[in-house]
Amino acid sequence: MAGYFVDRRGFRSFVKGLVERYLLYGTTLQEGFPVFKKIETPEELVLSSTPTHLSPKEFLFPPEELLLRFSLEDGRGEPVVDAPEQVLMGLHPCDIHAIGLLDRVFSHGTGDVNYIERRRRTILIGTECLPDEYCFCHSMGTMDAEEGFDLFFHELKRGYLVRVGTERGRRLLERYSKPARADRTHLEEMRTHREKKLESFVRSIYARREELPLVYAGSYEHPVWERIGSRCYGCGSCNHVCPTCYCFDIRDDVTLDLKEAHRYRVWDGCTLEDFAKVAGGHNFRRHRSERLRHRFNRKFRYLADRFDGLFCVGCGRCSRTCLVGINITDVTNELIRDARS
């Protein structure tokens, strides 16, 4: 593996360079919690954190995005593509895998112009992370990222080991820092970190990934859905914190003079009550249990069939955000256990 070593001073100059040239969003702490935020100085960055509470998908697929302006007088419209040149720094391996999945979704068929344009102008920089008590990426094959990033930083005692994913990343690294070749001690230190990380997981999925679509296919009538459905709020939090949930609603708004209209896309979530509601007030998934079952099946089965890959990257954010303690590993393991018995 071609790796570089950047010392702390080099790292600061690298981040300064990014801030001057790009809009930089990176991981930092807000009131003690890991979040992605706009970064102005290298000191603000906190790399090596547990997962951020919200995923970085918001920078590629914003919660509310203007897509179109059109005139109510003559019907003429003008599409809006707002795609700033930006850098996302501090992406964990699971987030990088998730972005890879979103890429597949939004480039499917004709492709989503807004997403694709944003994605094209976004530089992805990964960092090594620390699992929290909900993480289970080691079970989902997403603990390491070998591709899907421009650069990837591993924090070491005296600096950073940097892996290069793209030519764009290499040029960036060389322009803003003075990278040296990584030597064997650096690689050794990185591997030690990885081993420690692997030992620190408290949650796992007790089946091979390939088995999961079948486990879910056989669990449609399992009592777990009714049980967790009775606790669920239907609040959509699990959808919104999920790095791979991509459903959206389209809303129109008009200006008060009734001359111009704006078309937005807004995050939607399959656990929300009116997600599957149609004309006449009919609802295909009226009960929370049905909606939860749908969400879990999307992650482990439906989208696996459609896009060839599980849509859960094991970040554990949905479990963390759930106020009634619906835990994705517990649910999945219960289904696995009963599928085998």
Partner: protein, 260 residues
């Protein structure tokens, strides 16, 4: 809802702080344009006009006096469309907290044992407007949000029936990028409260108090348990639910419906 290109609208106030009417007046940027879309024919806080030929009536405040119930019936006869404005008129709001006590007791608490004029302080248990007359649309909130009010006005002049979100505050709270207040060890009513406010209170460092009322599909049992798990005792939990939703939670108890 019949489409009226330029409706004549009126604002009425029952028992309330009148803060929701103030929110309407707070639409400073939009008032001029608003006045070209609708004719305001009755609005005590904004104009001397007191005409009765309105087609749409916005009603703020809860019903806490017999006279108010009578006034509402008159308004219902004149208006084609009735829209409640704010928590008090929509759910009874915080006024309904007094329903836990007898009218005599609350009167004495506020006015003393010998009020100068008994007729002026006579009151009945507080209730939302829909307990007295049929309501067509509801704008919840304490106070209402400007954006939501303007959205209703736009819907009116476009002839589109306005609606309310059926999702909890958490939905928009996540979109606003807030750290969940429960993570910080603080309890909140967001998970059972109707969204549509963009989680403004949490975004500005507070918590959700539930001013937009409980969702139709609110999982209140789960929320009682969540609040308990976050250190609230039974009394405190009841108080949180009661603050804005006590009328509907306790309606079988003390509130008596005035006939429509």
């Amino acid at each position: 809802m019949r489409w009226i290109k330029r409706p004549r609208i009126a604002f009425f106030s029952l028992t309330s702080c009148e803060g929701c009417q103030l929110m309407v007046l707070n639409c400073e940027e939009e008032l001029r344009e608003l006045s070209t879309r609708v004719d305001v024919v009755n609005f005590r806080e904004a104009t001397d006009l007191k005409r009765d030929d309105y087609q749409v009536a916005f009603i703020e405040g809860s019903v806490t006096r017999e006279e108010e119930a009578e006034k509402l019936k008159e308004i219902r006869q004149r208006a084609e469309t009735i829209i409640t404005l704010g928590a008090c008129s929509t759910t009874g709001g915080i006024n309904a907290l007094k329903n836990r006590f007898s009218p005599e007791y609350v009167t004495e608490c506020v006015y003393g044992r010998n009020p100068p004029n008994r007729l002026l302080v006579e009151n009945i248990p507080a209730m939302p407007v829909e307990e007295v007359i049929e309501v067509d649309y509801r704008i919840p909130g304490c106070p209402v949000s400007k954006e939501e009010f303007l959205g209703f006005v736009k819907a009116l002049v476009l002839g589109i029936p306005p609606g309310l979100p059926e999702y909890p505050v958490c939905n928009e709270c996540k979109m606003e990028g807030n750290i969940c207040v429960f993570e910080k060890g603080v309890a909140c009513m967001g998970p059972v409260t109707r969204g549509g406010c963009r989680a403004v209170c949490v975004s500005f460092g507070s918590i959700c108090w539930g001013c937009r009322g409980l969702l139709d599909d609110a999982n209140t049992d789960a929320h009682r348990e969540t609040l308990g798990n976050h250190g609230l005792g039974d009394d405190e939990i009841t108080k949180r639910f009661d603050l804005y939703s006590s009328f509907y939670i306790h309606r079988k108890g003390r509130c008596t419906k005035t006939t429509t």
